[in-house]
Each structure stands twice: as structure tokens, then as C-alpha cells.
């Protein structure tokens, strides 16, 4: 500012004191600040005092406003400054009014001062604005209403929603609109130490500061909310720091769900361990030779079948077999012999393989499930089909065998075997007769299990046997194609 003209209206040595009626009354400040700028009162000659502020210190200041010259010169303020100033004025920092005036004063010489983000005053204003925005945002987020029933004039009970909230800054009045727009057709009150708001569905009323005791102490729905909070939390991903950053402890006392936090954090490690254990998965590496798999399956207790009195049966055949045949599980005979496909179904399979021209000694045969599942019926052990989950669990071993043998073609006998390879249950009649790609580049063919043929009689058996033979010949033809030199 150039000297002589700019200090025209100021009585030298005068110190002005402006008393604000409310701590969030930006419009009042704006009016007074405009007059002060018009009268060229420099920032260090004004004290801005809000209610409850230290007025006595400035007792000898001049409380009368100076009168600007007529016509008063225009006061400049950028839109960006006004928007920020209006919000920053809600901050609880008592020096904010002086900061706003200093920036307004500097604006008169530099209309683009707000662009200079490296300036200390600008940076401070932005910091205040940010803190207030954050506080408002947290008010939108953390106000928790509790419902009480209040009789209206006619004596009918009405739902009234009451919240207690403790803001850090003077933001209550400025945020009335948010809650009004959101809960327009609800009767609600927000009580805070800085004043209260009451909405009856039509009119907003402001009230004096309140006490926590004025708000209701609880609400039955909070139990449901707490249960939700505890259930939606994933104990496998504990990140307490991230939570504290956004939900600092000072808000906890008014959040019904926050009481659960210590318990949830403490229990998380145990719950994750439980989650993993419930899956009954051993997180160890898979053995990398067929011999070791053959040994390891004996100790496998990953599903209940392994707990029965039985012997694990490993697949057998050349380890470079182009064809792998997968059955369901060992039967009574296989369990006793410890070898796959030696019982009645195995014998039938051998017969048909020979008929189709598939040499069994060039084939790796194994089962989807490695242990025999049965129930006792008198002296007999009666076969029971493995459950989907048991097949899925045992798939781990089968995949170990597949990774080592690397067959060009896999033939699944029956639905259990198909599930072990595809991961889903398919219908044999729809899946048979065509190849399906597997993820390692080999292909899968599906056919019935020979024990199915054994259970049928008469015409049905003949029809199914024809289909079975047709599948086997198709497999042989395809195998020849795949293994032909140059393919």
C-alpha cells in the first residue's frame, strides 16, 4: 500500500477492537472487515474478539468503527478466498479472524495471492479450511441418533431421534442443512456442547449448548448395529493404524460400536488361525515325486475318510504314460490289496480296455479319492460315495500326480472323477463323447464308471456297455492322434 493516501482515515496510534456476536458469524466479520479495509486500518491495528474471548486485554482499544470516506473505494476479494474464509471462520483457532483480515488486506495489492500456495498465510488458511471440512465430514459420519418415543400434542406417541455429538470446531449451525436434507421427514435433535439443532419435519430451531445427560442413553437397535460391525470385520486383515487414522479415539466414546474394538483386535489373530484350521488345510509344500506322494497320502487326515480303518491306495503305471485313467476311490478289494482297480470293476475295465486296444501297462490308473469310504453292514464294508467336499480336498493329491506324470489325455470314470478334474459336478450323459481342455494343456474325456455297468442288468446294461466301449474307442483314436509323430 502506498503510504500517505492509504493511511488517510486512520487516527494514528488507534487500536480497534471488534467484538463478534457469535463464534461462527462470518457475515458479521465480512461487514466489519470491509469497513476496516476501506479505512486503511492495517492488520496489526485490530483485535478480533469472539464471545468468551480475552476482551480485557484490549480494554483500551477503540470499539467504535472508523467511517470510510464517501465514496468508499471497492474492496477486492477473490471468490476462492471467500469460499475458503467462510469455512475457515468456523475453526476454533482464536487467531483465525486476524488471519482472514491479513489475507484480505494483502488481497488489495495482489488479487491472485490465493494462488501462491507456498505463502505462509495462504497455507495456514488452507490448513484451517481443511480441518473444518474434516470436522464437518466426521459430524456427518459419526452422529448417532437414538430413538425415543415422545407424545405429541394429541397424545399419540411419535418417534423422535436424538443424538449427542462433540465437534472440534464451530460447525453445528453450518451443518444443519445436511441433516435437514437427509432426514427431512423425521423428527430429530442434535445436541452438542456448542449448541443444538431441532427439526420437527418443517422448521429448524436452534437451541443452547447441551449436556451429554440430555441425550438418551441407548437404543435397542444398537445391538443389531454392533453385531453387524463385528461380523463385517475380516480378522484376516487387521489394520488398526488405518482405522485409527480415520476414526480417532476421541470419537469413540460416542460411537456405540467402538466399545467392541479392543475385543475384536485382540481376538483377530485367534479367529484367523481358526478360519485357516477350520479349512483343515496343511499349508505345506506338495511332495515332488510319486514315491513321496505315495507315502504322504497314508498320513493324510484332511478329510474324515482318512480317519476310517483303511489303507491309502496310490495310483500306478508308467510315469510318462500318455493316458491317465481316474476312478472314484479304492473299493474293499483295492483297500486290502493296496493297489487300484483290482476288484470286480477293475477287472471289467481291463476287459474293455483290451477290447478298445488300450494297453493297461502303458496307462497310469489312479483314483479321485485315495482312501476307501464305507459304512459297516454286518460283516461287510459297504461302499459309500465320497462327498463333493471330500473330492475337492483330495484333488490336491491327484493334481500332484498329474503334474508329475503329465498325461496328454485324462479319462475320468464317473461323476466323482469328473468333479476331481473339473471342480464341478457334471452329468456324465452330457459330458461324455467329447474332449474338454484342462488348464495344463491336456484334455479330459469323461465316461461312466465300470461299477455302474456292474449294477445294471439286461438291456440297460447292454446299452450302457455300448456307450462305454464307444467312449473308449474314441479315447484310443484321439490318443493316437495326440501321440502321432509331429503332433
Amino acid at each position: 500500500m502506498s503510504s500517505a493516501r492509504s493511511l488517510r482515515n486512520v487516527k494514528l496510534g488507534t487500536y480497534y477492537v471488534v467484538q463478534l456476536p457469535e463464534p461462527d458469524d462470518f457475515d458479521f466479520w465480512r461487514e466489519r472487515a470491509r469497513i476496516m479495509v476501506q479505512c486503511d486500518v492495517p492488520p496489526d491495528r485490530i483485535a478480533w474478539i469472539e464471545p468468551g474471548g480475552s476482551g480485557d486485554l484490549f480494554a483500551h482499544g477503540d470499539r467504535r468503527l472508523p467511517v470510510p470516506a464517501d465514496p468508499a473505494r471497492p474492496v477486492r476479494a477473490s471468490r476462492r478466498f471467500l469460499a475458503l474464509a467462510k469455512n475457515a471462520a468456523l475453526h476454533s483457532d482464536p487467531d483465525r479472524w486476524a488471519l482472514l483480515y491479513r489475507l484480505l488486506w494483502r488481497h488489495q495489492n495482489n488479487g491472485r495471492i490465493m494462488e501462491d500456495k507456498a505463502d505462509c498465510d495462504v497455507a495456514r488458511l488452507e490448513a484451517l479450511d481443511k480441518a473444518v471440512r474434516r470436522d464437518s465430514h466426521k459430524m456427518h459420519a459419526f452422529v448417532r441418533f437414538r430413538m425415543v418415543e415422545v407424545d405429541d400434542a394429541a397424545g399419540t406417541p411419535q418417534e423422535h431421534y436424538v443424538a449427542w455429538f462433540e465437534p472440534e470446531h464451530h460447525i453445528v449451525r453450518a451443518n444443519a442443512g445436511f441433516f435437514m436434507r437427509r432426514f427431512a421427514n423425521m423428527r430429530w435433535s442434535i445436541l452438542t456442547p456448542r449448541g443444538s439443532l431441532h427439526w420437527d419435519g418443517e422448521v429448524m430451531r436452534e437451541g443452547p449448548p447441551a449436556l451429554r445427560a440430555d441425550a438418551p442413553a441407548g437404543d435397542p437397535v444398537e445391538d443389531l448395529w454392533r453385531r453387524y460391525y463385528a461380523s463385517i470385520f475380516n480378522p484376516a486383515r487387521l489394520k488398526v493404524g488405518a482405522m485409527l487414522k480415520e476414526m480417532p479415539r476421541r470419537y469413540w466414546k460416542n460411537l456405540p460400536e467402538a466399545a467392541l474394538i479392543p475385543e475384536l483386535v485382540a481376538g483377530a489373530q485367534g479367529r484367523e488361525a481358526q478360519m485357516v484350521e477350520a479349512g483343515a488345510l496343511a499349508f505345506e509344500a506338495r511332495p515332488d515325486s510319486l514315491e513321496e506322494i505315495g507315502k504322504a497320502i497314508h498320513a493324510c487326515r484332511k478329510c474324515p475318510i482318512g480317519l476310517l480303518d483303511n489303507t491309502a491306495v496310490m495310483g500306478e503305471g508308467p510315469r510318462d504314460a500318455p493316458l491317465m485313467i481316474v476312478g472314484e476311490q479304492p473299493g474293499d478289494k483295492e483297500d486290502l490289496a493296496g493297489r487300484p482297480f483290482v476288484g470286480p470293476a477293475g477287472q471289467l475295465l481291463d476287459l474293455h480296455l483290451e477290447k478298445a486296444g488300450i494297453p493297461r501297462d502303458r496307462t497310469y490308473v489312479t483314483n479321485a479319492v485315495k482312501h476307501f469310504k464305507y459304512v459297516h453292514r454286518g460283516k461287510f464294508r459297504l461302499h459309500q460315495s465320497p462327498a463333493a467336499k471330500e473330492i475337492d480336498t483330495c484333488r490336491w493329491w491327484l493334481e500332484g500326480e498329474r503334474a508329475l506324470v503329465r498325461p496328454r489325455l485324462v479319462l475320468a470314470l464317473g461323476a466323482s472323477a469328473a468333479r476331481a478334474l473339473l471342480g464341478k459336478t457334471v452329468s456324465i450323459s452330457r459330458a461324455r463323447g467329447r474332449p474338454q481342455p484342462l488348464d495344463d494343456g491336456s484334455e479330459l474325456w469323461v465316461t461312466a464308471h465300470p461299477s455302474y455297468l456292474l449294477r445294471l442288468e439286461g438291456e440297460a446294461r447292454e446299452a450302457q456297455t455300448r456307450l462305454f466301449d464307444a467312449d473308449l474307442s474314441a479315447v484310443r483314436a484321439r490318443l493316437e492322434e495326440l501321440c502321432a509323430p509331429g503332433s
Binding site: 500456495k117 456427518h140 421427514n185 423425521m186 443389531l224 484376516a236 489394520k239 488348464d439
Partner: protein, 414 residues
Amino acid sequence: MAEMTLMQKLEVLADAAKYDASCASSGTARKNSLGGKGIGSTEGMGICHAYAPDGRCISLLKILLTNHCIFDCHYCINRKSSNVRRARFTPQEVVDLTLSFYRRNYIEGLFLSSGIVKSSNHTMEQLVEVARILREEHDFRGYIHLKTIPDADAELVHQAGLYADRVSINVELPTDAGLTRLAPDKDARQIEGAMGGVRMAIAQAKDEKKRFRNAPRFAPAGQSTQMIVGADGASDADIVGKASRLYDGFKLRRVYYSAFSPIPDASAVLPLKRPPLVREHRLYQSDWLMRFYGFSPREVMQATGEDGNLPLDIDPKLAWALKFRDQFPLDVNRATREQLLRVPGLGVHAVNRIIASRRHRSLRLQDVGRLTASISKVRPFICTVDWRPTALADRADLRALLAPKSEQLELFAA
């Protein structure tokens, strides 16, 4: 079995929904309940009403309508062959729960998903019914996110879009092979077909809205999707590539990444180790680089290591800068906006502030320090009037200098 209480159902069905990462309530059309009969408003910015100890925002009541399911996806706790406790809400129960939570200001709205019961269409009808009751009978104007079922009728998906702010369909796994293996009942082409359909409907509704003021809104907050990270062998490069195709092809608002986490009753075909949570974080960072920092997917992939994965110890932007050191240091007083966005440690906000400030003064290192969060990370890559990092930029151990000191990133790193 005795009928479950509402509390028990909520426990089961919220627990079942916790593996969905998204809880966003932002970016939808502005609306409020003034002049209406009900409650609710959305004002652009999403609000997180609480944070769980896993650091995730709780913005919506995120639940399943039911966790009964006829599908058998291996990574999913609700798959048919899993032994979890099952429960089912009626649409009215979900409506009542949503409203009573909303009235107490616990939530911004509802995120409803469901296991597939009976058929895809039946399930979709139930989801739409919940949204219909909320919108039509209660004039609810809060946020609704509906998960749509890929093979449900287009007409049902369309109705969902008319009631919901956002619709989403999960692509689940980054590669088709992974999907075939782990979600055998799902079909990649069908999922993408459904996403394409939603994209067209959103574009059409926007176009109509321009011409007719009263044209109905269709999913004003757009569509999103989720990918599970670490359940199959896909590398970060695969995932980044897939995400960028999804953003381009379907105009998605967000792609969420969810680090595969151990689930009770897990299926045996899943990997035995869970990926570190920080991998998910790095993917989000690379997502940001593509959406806000002008990086192309190819450039993000340049930041990956030989195994196709992003480094875990440093962020992808720093990894890129260390690979292309010849592009630095940049003069903050001269460099273009695009160039400044490549400086590790400078965010979009800081770059805007630098560009505004340098019109007024020649920036010194101290000024830059005031405009950014941390000067030490930025320093090796910039020049100012009083600073030139000659010695620093050529140091072979720059990475070690800048990588955060090895700290325990997660409590139970596998």
C-alpha cells in the same frame, strides 16, 4: 431347526458379505428427501460412518440376501460344498434393517448381494424387490448398490439399474483360465456380456437425460467390479492389463482388488498361501497411476519385475522412476504438469499447488517442502532454484535409500 432370529441372520449374512471389498457410496447423482415422503440423501461425496479394525470403511449395510448358493466357486465361502451356516432374509427384513440403520445415521445405504438360489432370475427378482420396496414404498433416497447376477434376464438387470445408484458384476478372477478352474459355474463371456449390457444402458440413460429432463436415471454412480488377487497364478502385469481393458471396454467407475484371504472351510484347490496385503495396496496404487497420473497400462507394466509382479517394498511410481532415471531430475519451475505427475512423492494435489505457486515465485526447496507431504522422497528427482540432486540420482543404492525401512507391514504376514 428353530427359526433364526434377525440378529443371527444378520450375523451370518454380514459375515458372508465381508469378502466384497467395495463399500463406496460416492459419485452418484445428488438427491435429498426434502419434499418427499421418506428419508435419505446423497451429496456426491461418500461418507464412511465407521471403520472396522481391518481399516475398511463401513459406509453401507453390506449383506447378502441369502448365502444359500447353487454355485460351487472354490474361493467363495458360500459355495455349495461349503459347510457354513446358512441363512436367508426376506426382502422386507432387509428393508426394515436398512431403514432402521439409516434413521440412526449408521449408514449411507444398502449394498445387497446374494448367493444364487433356485435360479439366477429368481435371485435377481428378489434383489430388485428389496430395492423396489425401499424406493417406491418408503421413498428412500439414500444409496443403493445392487450386485447383479451375470446370467439373469436383461430386463431384470435393467430394473435393478433403475432403482440402484450403482450396479456391479464381479469378474472374480483376472484370467479366464483362473475362472474356469476356480469358478466352474461361471462363464467369462457371460460376465463380460452382462457388463457390456449395463454399460450400454448407462450410456443410453445419460443421453436421454440430456434431452428429456424427466428421463429415468440408470445407475448414476456407474458400475464397478471386483477381482480376487492371489487365488490363481495371474501376475500383477496380467491384473493391470485386465483392469485397463475393463476400464476402457466397460467404462467402469472402479475395479476393486481383493487379496484372497483364507476362508473357513476352504476348498483344497486354492493356493496354500495368502498373498501379502501389501500386494493389493500396490495394485490400487497402479490403478491410481492409470486413472489420475496419465500412466498407460504398458508403463505400469514396465514397473513390474521379471516375474511380472510389482515390487512390494516400494510403490509402483517409485519403481518406474528408478527404472527410468534418465527422465530425472525435473526442474519444478519449468517441467510440465504431465512430467511433474511422474515424480515419486508428488500427488495430483501437490502438482496443482506447485503449478499455481510457480507463477508467483521461483520455487526453492523449502517452498516445495511446504507444498508436499514429504520432501525427502521427492528431493532426488527434482531441481529447484537452490537444489540439484546430482550426486543422489546417480547413486546405485538409491532404491535402498528411498524404500521404507523394513517394517512389519501386516501383523500375520504368511
